[in-house]
Every structure is written in C-alpha cells, then in structure tokens.
C-alpha cells in the first residue's frame, strides 16, 4: 500500500527546534526533529500531553515559526517565507483539519470547501465547481448546501478533509481530527483520510488513540519534544499496544 519512499517528500522537517519564552520561563517544545512525509503516506504522531505534537503540526503548516531548523513544503523552505507567501502556501499546498469547529459557520459545506480557492482569486463559480467535485468524490455531495450547524460532527470533519485537499493541495495536517467524535464516526473519518492518502496525498495525523494510529503507514512517537521511536505499519500492530500503554 505504501508508495516508494524514493519520491520527493511533500513535507520535510530538518533539525527543527522550537523554544517558547526565554530565561527562567524557557520551554523546549521541539528538540531537533527530522521528519519526511512522502506522497501517498499517512504519518501518525503520538505522544503524551505537552510532548510537542501540536507544535510540530503548527510549525509544519507555517502557522508558527521554528526557533531553528528548516520546514520544506513541496520544495519550498517556508521558514524564510513572509506572511503573504505563507498565506498563499496554505491556500495552495497545505490543508488543516482540527479537532472540532473546523468549518466556518457562516458558509455552506460547498462554500467552506471552495473558500481556499476563492481566497486565491478563483471565480466563485469555478471554485464551487471544484468544491462540488471534491465533495462528490468523497461521497459527500448530498451535504453541499448544508450549513455546519445542520451537519453531524463526523460529517463536518469529512467536509473539513475535503477542504484540506481541494485544488492542488497534497498535504493534510490533522490535529486530533477524531477527538470530539465517537469511535465509529472517528473510524469513518480516518477511513476517508486514508483513502485520500492512497490517492496520492501526504498526511500527518496527530492523535493519542492507538486505534486511529493504526490507519497510518508510519507512527512517530514524541516525548519532550524529541522523536523517541518510529514504526512502519507492518510492525505497528504488534508494537503499538505496549508503547502507548507506557506513554
């Protein structure tokens, strides 16, 4: 199921460190992280609270900047990019899915999906066309004209995934996308994410549920801001239980 790792990675983190505060309040959130995510690969990041999972994700998406190190998305070093370039990158290359309240309540599902394209200057009609196509492809076409408060949590998260991948975007950064859902719905959301990755996208999934991590090609374990272990999927099932129980 995994694609050859030789291809150019969609996301490359190199010697990434992040220090919050200074002096007595100094906190090392990330300590020299190296991580590549390739097209077609879904990487799960696990670790205890405060291990730096979310920081990793926000820096990877350019929402926060590292203290040192490099973040390369589709060949572009985003650590040197300005605010405008970063915003453009988020419109064209990076998609986010958060734990909950992912959708803009004032917009319908289709409009939410079309938002990055419209912000990018695509005409409303074209953007809507692309959004409908994306929804249709994921079997969510019937939700197109519903507002977020008319959808279930699982439906909202699936629409969010559709938005994360609309247009040419190939990188999904999902921060506990199933945290607010019951396990069955959670499974369906992850199934969708898996499908998108299989279709060529690259995904990073932060979670602390081993069950969901099982959907990943690779599981990265973080502790105190450093990667303490990496497991590829073939060995994941046997390893997961013990490791997570420890954490």
């Amino acid at each position: 199921m995994s694609t050859p790792l030789a291809a150019q990675p969609v996301l490359r983190l190199q010697k990434l460190t992040r220090v919050h505060g200074s002096g007595a309040t100094e906190v090392h959130a990330l300590r020299g992280i190296d991580l590549d995510v390739h097209p077609g690969e879904l990487v799960a990041v696990m670790g205890p609270s405060g291990s730096g999972k979310s920081t990793l994700l926000t820096i990877a998406g350019g929402l926060d900047s590292p203290t040192s190190g490099q973040v390369v998305v589709e060949g572009t070093d985003i650590t040197t990019a300005g605010a405008k370039e970063l915003a453009a990158l988020r419109r064209r290359s990076i998609g986010y899915v958060f734990q909950d309240y992912n959708l803009i309540p004032a917009l319908t599902a289709a409009e939410n999906v079309a938002l990055p394209r419209e912000l990018d200057g695509t005409s409303a009609r074209k953007a809507r066309g692309e959004a409908l196509a994306a929804l249709e492809e994921m079997g969510l076409g019937h939700l197109a004209d519903r507002f977020p408060d008319e959808m279930s949590g699982g439906q909202q998260q699936r629409v969010a995934i559709a938005r994360a991948l609309v247009g040419d975007r190939r990188l999904v950064l999902a921060d506990e996308p199933t945290g607010a859902l019951d396990s069955e719905t959670g499974e369906s959301v992850l199934a969708l994410l898996r499908t998108r990755c299989d279709a060529g996208a690259a995904g990073v999934l932060v979670t602390h549920e081993p069950r969901f991590a099982a959907w990943a090609d690779r599981v990265v374990f973080l502790r105190d801001g450093a990667i303490v272990d990496q497991t590829v999927r073939s060995e994941a099932d046997s390893l997961l239980t013990g490791r997570v129980a420890e954490a």
Partner: protein
C-alpha cells in the same frame, strides 16, 4: 484586480451571513447608523418638496393670471422694481429722505384687451362661537379661471351672492363655526353665510374669509366709521390676463406709472442683472446671502456631519470589535485555510460594509415611506403644502453613501486589530495584551496642544468665537486620540481598589483596544453636553442678573388702545375676576382728535401729543445732526457722565406712549413710588414727573397737542419746532430716580381737564397678593380672546428661565450615549472575560462576582468617559464666555470713549458651572450604567471546560 474582487466576494458572503446570524448586535449597529440617515433623508425630502419652483409659487400668488398689478404707494411716481416684483423703490432718488406718497390708478396701467379680476385684502374682527377673532378678509372671485390655484376649495361651493363667504379651515377651527354658519363683524351687523371651506396652500394656518368683490370691505368700513371706530386698511391687486403675457420691457413701462408688477413670463425667465436698473443703483445689495455666509454654513454643516459620524463610529466600532472577537476562531480558520491578513481585514471590513449598506437602504427607504405617509402632518406643521413630492436621487445617494462610509469607518480599527492577530492565537483563543498604536497618542497630544493654544489665544487675545470653537474642537479630537494612553494612566489607581473593581479596571486597561473607543464615545457626547450646559447655564445666569422687570414683582398692567379704549372696562373686569388683585389703578391717556383715534395719530381727524422738552433742557448732543462732528469724544464723555440734561431716564418698564399717563395716587402705590410729596402734589392739581429735563424754569411741564401731523413731520425732519397748542401744567419733580417702569409724567383727570386736555381710557395697573397660577393665566387669556380686543397684558413674574427642559434633555442624551457605549464595552469585556470568570468560579468565588465584575466593567468605562468628557467640555465653554466678555468689554470701552450714551455700567460676563448637570453626569450616569450592567448579567455562566490549547 480580478483576484481582489473574488476574494472580497467571499469576505462579503461571510460577513453577510455573520450579520444575519448575530441579529441582535447587527440590528443595534444598523439602527445606530440608519437613524441619523433616516433623519437627514427625511429632512432632504421635506426641504426639497416644500421648496417651490417659481412656477408653483406663482400659481399660489397670482393663480392663472399672466401678471399681478399692485400700487407702489408712491402717488403714481415712476418706480424701479426687481424682476420678481417683491422689491421696488421710487425711480427718482431723493436725498431729503422724504418719499412721495399717495395712490396710483391701477386701471390706467391695464393694457387694452386684458381681462382682469381684483384681489383685495383687509381685516376685521369677526364674531365667532367663542367671541371675536381677528381675521383676514379677502375679496376675490374665487371661482374665476384667473384665480385658479390661489385658494383650494375643500368643501361646499364658491360664494355666488353678496352675503356669502367661504372660510379657511383654520378659521373654521379657531372660530368653532362650520359651513352653513353665519358670521358678522364687530360694528357691522350684516350676516354672511359660510358656503364653503378652503385652504391657502402656502399658509395653512391663516384665518381668512373670502367674499365677492365689493361685498364686505366697503360696507364694513362705512359701518365702522359710523360707529366711531377706525376700520383697518385694505390693499388691492389686479390679476391680469393678457395675450402674450408681460415682458420685462412691458413691466418697466408699467413701472413708470408707479405700479409694481409680478409677471409670470419675467419671473420664469428673469432678465440679466445688467438689465435691471434697480440692481445698478449704488447701495443695492442682496443681503440675504453672501459667499462668506454660505461658506460658513457649509463649514458648520460639515463639522456637525463629521462629529456625528465620529460619534457613530466610536459607538459602532466596539460593536464590530465584539463581532470580530466572537468570531475569532472563524477568522483563525480562514487564516489556516490560506486567508492572508488582507483577507481577514476584508472580512471584518465587509461587516461594516454590509451593515452600512443595509443601514443606507433601510434609512433611505424608511425616510421616503415615512415622509410620504406623514406628508399631511408635515404640511400642517410647516403651514404650507408641498409643491410636488421631490425625490432627488443624487442627494439621497450621497446621504446613503455616508451610511456606508460610516459603517466602513467604524469597522476599520476592529479590522486592523483582528488582522494583526496571528492565526495560531486566533485558533487557540490565547489572549494577550494587544499593544495599541504609539503614533495615535502622539498625534493626539500634538492636536491637544495645538487646539488648546488656539482656544487660549482665541479667548485671551482675540474676540473671535470661531477661533475658540475651532481650537476646542481640535483639542477635543486630540483627547479622543489620546484616550488609549489616558486609559493606561487610570490603571495606576487600581492597586487601592477591592477585587471586583480592581479586576474590572485592570481588564479595561489591559484591553485598551476595546476600552478606548467606548471611552472616547462617552467622552465626545459628555464633552458636548457639558460645553452646551455650561454655556447655557452661564448665559442664563447672566440674563437673570441683567433682567429688568417691566413692573414691580407681581404687578399686572394692560393697555387697550383700539376704538378709544372701548373694551377697557371688560378687560379690567376679567383681570379682577381671574387674578388676586389688591390695588387697581385705572389710567387714561391724552386723546387728540376724534374719539376712536389711535394714540399715535393716523386716520382723518386724528392727532397726537408730546411732552415738551423746554428749550435749554435739551442735551446739546441730541439737537445736532452728528454729535461726533460737533463735539470731541472727551466732551461727549463729559456730557454723558455729568450733564443732567443728557441723562436718560431709567431703562426698562413697559412702553408708555409719550411717558404720560392720566391717573391718581393709586398708580404710585402700584408702582411702589413712595415719595410723600408726589401724592400731595397730585391732590393739589399738579403733574408729577420723574424726569428733570421735562420741567421748565417756571416749574411747569408742557403737553403739546399736534393736530396737523403732516406739518409736524416736516418740521421734525427739518429740526424745527413742531406746530401745536401747548398746555402748561404746574409740576412736582420726584428726585432720587425711583424705578417708574416707563412712566415719566402722571396727572389726575381733573388736572388734565383743567389744562384743556381730552382723555380716553387706556388701561389699568394692578398690584396682586400672589403670582397667578398657570390655570388663572389660561382662564384670563381665554377671556381676553373672547373679548377680542387687542390687549397688551403684562404680568411681572420676574425672570423665567426656559432652559431647564433643554438642559434635562441634553443630560438624558449624554446619559443614553454613555450607557450605550459603556454597555457595548461591557459586552465585549464579558466575551473576553469568560475564561477569567471560570477560573474565579473554580477558586471559589461566589456567583455574584460575575455580576459585580460586569457592573464595574461598565462603570469603569462610563466613569473614565464622563470624567474626561466633563473636563474637555468645560474648557471650550469657559473659553467662549471669556471671549464674549472681551467682546462686550470692547463695545463698552468704545461706547465710553465715543460718548454714545446708553448703559454706563461695565459689562460683566458671568461664568456658572452647571453643577446639577455635572453631578448627574459624573455620579448618576456611571452608577446607573454599572447597576444596569449588573442587573442584565446572568450570575451563572455556562460551566464549560477550558478550551484545550
């Protein structure tokens, strides 16, 4: 460009749906912007609709005629007129000041083949259901095609016979009569039947009746004269129809016969100014408007509009900030999906745009609908019918654009603030102290210093109000800009406060971005209120100090001069019946000529009288043409101060014709004149006078009866003695300059008779034991209206201030703005403080802390605003008063230096601080705002787990 458009579309869509979702907040802001727009649009519509085109105006004055001819009143001498015919003067300029007078023959000016009707206007006292009513009487063939448009028949029919009239609805309402009733006039018993009602489109509240030409005024005048009364005069215009109309040349030709013309053709197409001889005269100027006055009006209008927009922005701004803060997560999501700062700004700005457009549409549409619906009431209120409902799309569009602009301006600061947040902070809801601009306070300080210096310069050096006002306005804008910095200073007082107010104050100071606009809004409203209140209180105190009573406190007097004082007994009765009279003093006047003559002469066989100033007693300055040529300023100053002949009698009081009244010692009592010699002198048959220059060397005063008024006027013009018979009366001079309230000479009827002076009753003076109640006044006024006589009634109640209601309204307005602004800021603070409140609850704070905190948050904003506002409002008011003092002082000094006479006491300009208003604003308003906020806050908050970050 295209990209920009597409991303704005998305922003507008989000803003539009958000506005719809937050209906309460949106409608509040919408109302704030739409209400003034509604008012201004309605004003524009009303103004434009009531503004008549020249054609509409002509229709109401000359009907369907081609021209109206009016006697210029210069005895047929040629005149020059304006193209509109509203202004004219004799063609021959006369330096002696005397103008020809007399009437011209209108018919001689009518061109051959012209068709015409006459329109005569006079007046009469008509009998009504309640008594008598002074009414305009018109004689016009109202159903003639020429008259079409002058009157609008509402009900019934036009008069066909000599004993039929139609009446305006205003007359019918005031008189209590209706169609079918009969009316007659005083001194003229012939009954006229009302056969229809009508209105004058230009003057809806005029009481008027219209009869056929010749049917009323001529017989009425005859009957009135027979009864010894003087009938009011009348004037006739000819409404003329003539094929081809009247050109400007024809109008000028008719002018040579002394006749003024309003010509339809000329009014609709006026000649160039160079073709109007009247305009070419030296000294002719159009005083109605000057470019400077227009510019001034425009500047003040601009200032008012600007300040109003600033106030709305300051009030609405925090509401948008609340919106932006509430949808912080949403804005963060947009950012996470690639929205750049400009996109975030666009979304918040779109909120302003959407509400601005909605307010513009709502305001304009409502204005049109309301103006249309209320048209009859507006017309009644203005007293004239609209010409046509005049909608000027461009003007309305301009006003509507103001609404859009206001919405956008109000959203600018929240938009910039929202866009400055990092996406991460928005998504996680992390709070922090948002730094405020450092440039703004510096700019504000510069404006404050500059404006303050300007105002100071204005009030201490020049006497130009505009400098003070302009300087104060700039300084106030400076204070508004400095508000964030000043709010920071307030924070230092926090450490001495108990928990809730300390939390509230710290929170307000830490979040200046939301506190400052609310404080500034309160500041602006309070400053305006305090400025106006201080100025009004000061001038009110000044008026009170400078008030000169017309009579002793509580005294009452009336004069009734028409028809030889025929109604004096009835009026005296009425006053005694409704007021608590102690002493009554009847007074008469010296009458010259036929009974029924008015005191000032006029009419055939009527004369007047004057009290002679004996030769040698006249002030030298007043007997020459130009005192400033004959005497030096020093001489004039000396005369004014030292020469008893130049001393003017005490000012104030009521106007007493000639200063002479015929009465007895009771009048002295009513007026409070206690000189013991005076009553004795009256009893001895002497006249009592209070004015030394009137007494001749032989101890008499002279009363001159003038019968030939024309000769008298000529003599007066040429500074020659006026011909007339002088009666001398021995006089007693009351010294000590007591207050006589306009009375200079008093003699008894017996003395007057002995001196050969005829008298006529003219009125009475009364002293009362208490001031009349409102009810007594109303009853008396109703009774006087029934009598229908022209009565000059004076009731001395002391100085009555009419400002208290105005001050109260101002205070309430400022209070409302304060509560509104503080409320919005509190709502914003509450939205922010949710997490703090949960923490407080978690550490065991009782539920009421939530209430007290919100109360204090509201109170803190209100208090800061009213303190700053009161200070910034007091200063311009004081500045204005000081300027006024300088101006009056300059006039006074000039007066003294030039020896112009008049009031010699130096002016003093009072400055009064309106403590009541200040106390209400400083104490009651913040307290009320705090209590209100505490009351409307729920003490229980939804306990939710803190958002995971």
């Amino acid at each position: 460009m295209k990209n920009w458009f597409h991303s704005w579309r998305a922003a507008v869509r989000i803003a539009r749906r958000d506005a719809w979702r937050a209906k309460g907040r949106s409608s509040l802001v919408l109302a704030m912007i739409a209400l003034p727009i509604l008012g201004v649009c309605a004003l524009d519509l009303t103004y434009r609709s009531s503004e008549l085109s020249p054609g509409e105006r002509l229709e109401r004055t000359i009907g369907a005629a081609d021209a109206s001819f009016r006697d210029g009143g210069f005895g047929g001498q040629p005149i020059l007129q304006t193209p509109q015919g509203d202004n004219y003067s004799p063609a021959k300029e006369d330096d002696s000041g005397g103008w020809p007078s007399g009437s011209a023959d209108l018919r001689k000016a009518l061109p051959a083949g012209a068709r015409w009707i006459t329109d005569t206007q006079g007046a009469a006292k008509l009998t009504t259901r309640h008594g008598l009513l002074q009414t305009d009487v018109r004689e016009l063939k109202s159903d003639d095609p020429i008259a079409r448009g002058i009157v609008t028949l509402l009900d019934g029919r036009h008069p066909q016979k000599a004993d039929e009239v139609i009446a305006t609805s205003a007359f019918l309402e005031q008189s209590g009569l209706s169609i079918g009733s009969t009316v007659s006039a005083r001194n003229f018993d012939r009954p006229y039947r009302v056969v229809g009602s009508y209105e004058l489109p230009d003057s809806l509240d005029t009481a008027q009746i219209t009869a056929l030409p010749g049917a009323f005024l001529a017989p009425y005048t005859k009957a009135a004269e027979k009864a010894g009364a003087l009938a009011p005069g009348s004037s006739t215009t000819y409404l003329v129809q003539h094929a081809g109309g009247f050109t400007w040349n024809m109008v000028q030709e008719i002018n040579t016969k002394g006749i003024a013309v309003v010509s339809r053709a000329v009014v609709l197409d006026p000649p160039a100014d160079s073709e109007v001889p009247l305009y070419q005269r030296s000294g002719w100027g159009d005083f109605n408007s000057s470019p400077a006055a227009d510019a001034m009006l425009l500047v003040s209008l601009g200032t008012v509009v600007g300040l109003a927009m600033l106030e709305i922005c300051l009030l609405a701004g925090p509401a948008f900030a609340v919106g932006a803060r509430r949808s912080r997560r949403q804005l963060g999501l947009v950012g996470a999906n690639g929205g750049s700062r400009s996109h975030i700004r666009a979304i918040v700005l779109s909120g302003g745009l959407v509400i601005g457009i909605a307010a513009a549409v709502v305001g304009t549409v409502l204005a049109v609908v309301l103006t249309l619906a209320l048209q009859p009431f507006l017309e009644e209120y203005m007293g004239q019918r609209f010409g046509a409902f005049d909608v000027r799309p461009l003007e309305l569009l301009g006003i509507a654009l103001l609404a859009v602009l206001t919405g956008l301006l109000a959203a600018i600061v929240p938009a910039v603030t929202a866009s400055r947040q990092t996406v991460l902070a928005s998504l996680t809801g992390r709070r922090g102290v948002r730094s405020t601009s450092k440039v703004l306070p510096v700019l504000g300080l510069v404006a404050l210093l500059l404006g303050g210096a300007l105002a100071l310069y204005g009030s201490l050096v020049t006497d130009q109000f505009i400098v003070v006002a302009g300087g104060s306005a700039i300084a106030e804008l400076g204070v508004v800009a400095m508000t964030p910095a000043i709010v920071g200073l307030f924070g230092r007082t926090g450490r001495w406060l108990p928990l809730s107010p300390r939390l509230a104050l710290r929170d307000a100071v830490r979040n200046r971005g939301r506190t400052a606009p609310a404080v500034a809004a309160v500041l602006a409203a309070v400053a305006g209120t305090v400025a106006v209140a201080t100025y009004t209180a000061s001038s009110d105190a000044q008026y009170r100090a400078e008030y000169t009573p017309s009579l002793p406190h509580g005294a009452v007097s009336f004069f009734q001069m028409e028809e030889g004082g025929r109604d004096v007994p009835a009026v005296t009765d009425a006053v005694q019946r409704y007021l608590s009279v102690e002493t009554r003093a009847d007074v008469s006047r010296v009458a010259v000529g036929k009974p029924g003559c008015p005191p000032w002469g006029g009419g055939d066989g009527c004369g007047r009288y004057e009290v002679v100033v004996p030769a040698g007693n006249e002030c030298p300055m007043w007997t020459v043409d130009d005192a400033s040529e004959k005497f030096t300023a020093a001489q004039r100053r000396k005369m004014i101060r030292e020469d008893w002949r130049c001393k003017e009698s005490r000012g104030g009081g009521i106007y007493v014709d000639g200063g002479l009244l015929v009465g007895d010692a009771r009048l002295l009592k009513v007026l409070g004149i206690t000189d013991p010699g005076a009553a004795r002198a009256l009893a001895e048959g002497k006249a009592v006078t209070f004015h030394k220059p009137l007494v001749a060397k032989d101890g008499t005063i002279g009363v001159k009866q003038i019968t030939d008024l024309k000769a008298a006027d000529e003599a007066a013009t040429n500074r020659k003695p006026v011909p007339g018979k002088v009666s001398s009366v021995p006089a007693h001079l009351v010294t000590g300059d007591p207050a006589t309230y306009g009375l200079q000479v008093l003699m008894t009827p017996a003395t007057a008779k002995a001196a050969g002076l005829a008298t006529a009753p003219v009125g009475a003076y009364f002293s009362t034991d208490r001031l009349p109640s409102g009810e007594q006044r109303q009853k008396l006024d109703a009774e006087l209206a029934k009598i229908g006589a022209g009565v000059d009634l004076t009731v001395e109640e002391g100085y009555v201030s009419d400002d208290s209601l105005f001050m109260l309204a101002l205070t309430i307005f400022a209070g409302l703005v304060t509560v509104g602004a503080a409320g919005i800021a509190t709502g914003l603070a509450q939205a922010d403080a949710e997490a703090d409140l949960k923490t407080l609850a978690a550490v065991g704070a009782p539920p009421r802390v939530r209430r007290t905190l919100s109360g204090f948050q509201c109170g803190v904003v209100a208090a800061m605003g009213v303190v700053l506002g009161s200070v910034s409002g007091l200063l311009p008011a004081l500045g204005l008063r000081l300027t006024e003092e300088r101006q009056q002082l300059r006039f006074h000094e000039q007066n003294l230096a030039e020896g112009w006479g008049g009031d010699l006491t130096p002016p003093y300009v009072l400055i009064v601080i309106p403590w009541e208003t200040l106390a209400a604003l400083l104490v009651a308003v913040p307290l009320g705002a705090a209590l209100l906020a505490a009351l409307v806050t729920r003490s229980k908050g939804a306990m939710a787990r803190r958002a995971a970050t």
